[in-house]
Symmetry: C2
Subunit: 163 residues, 2 copies
């Protein structure tokens, strides 16, 4: 259950069901597999297809359930193994952790954004703010670091609901 923040950028994914668009996950994946001489199995295709079309964050458990709901013949172990592969391929990445301490994953393709977790309704919103990013880059450089990536989670309340 993840929505776009009221003022955040809404990402609309082109649901082109046609061939493989350059830069699409299909292309990236096949390229990665070829390069590493790994193979595109039926299970790998099915799992990738589901994992890489999630709207936003998901727990691996959730993915396992979803995959097996549609393809009961796929073993949980295979899902775990493939999520790892997709991370190595750079198509998925670990993100914030849920309340229970479980790691969440999301498509890297979905672009960089920070997160707001609403303490009232529990929903996770995404946003991107140039001023924050800028201040951050500056601060990090000033401390002698080269930033790589970051994870920014803000816990807040949406005023409307919390009245």
């Amino acid at each position: 259950m993840v929505k776009s923040a009221p003022c955040g950028r809404k990402k609309v994914r082109d649901p082109s069901s046609a061939g493989e668009v350059p830069g699409s996950w299909e292309m990236v994946l096949t390229g990665f597999l070829r390069e590493k001489s790994l193979r595109l199995t039926d299970q790998r295709r099915k799992i990738s297809s589901i994992a890489l079309t999630q709207d936003s964050h998901f727990e691996i458990q959730e993915l396992v359930r979803e995959v097996r709901k549609i393809h009961p013949e796929i073993s949980p172990a295979t899902v775990y193994r493939n999520v790892k592969t997709l991370c190595e391929a750079g198509l998925l990445q670990e993100t914030l952790e849920s309340k229970s301490g479980v790691t969440l994953y999301e498509r890297t393709e979905s672009g960089h954004h920070d997160h707001i977790v609403c303490l009232d309704c529990g929903l996770i919103f995404e946003f991107h703010n140039a001023a924050i990013e800028k201040a951050q880059t500056k601060a990090i450089r000033a401390m002698g670091f080269l930033e790589s990536r970051h994870q920014h989670v803000i816990y807040a309340k949406c005023e409307l609901i919390s009245k």
Copy 2:
């Protein structure tokens, strides 16, 4: 599996009743316990004492080992139960996750700061930057939220070491 050390219950006079500074964790804890009609047991005092005097982040496993090193009679289950209580009391909070996906805890009292995880040496640094906080507060408000707390982790490389 895990074998438990021989466990007895022993009576130990506790010296912590001496100087309880207002706002200290002892006071906050006793206040919380009274309010919730929970009890201050010997184990709770010992576990809290260790958990709330950690310099920085710790994994719960680490805490379990440390507690049992000093107090072998305390059960791991009790440590887990008490960490949960301390979180509810607002004295501990979950923070970033380690590489292995394990949740880390830290004292809330330790004040707000963001984290830099060095991708070269693995060390975790803390910092506070007014510009970032300001930009953040502004952005959140603009989106109609009331910020509560946040978790900001930056993965970076310390230049000196990386080259």
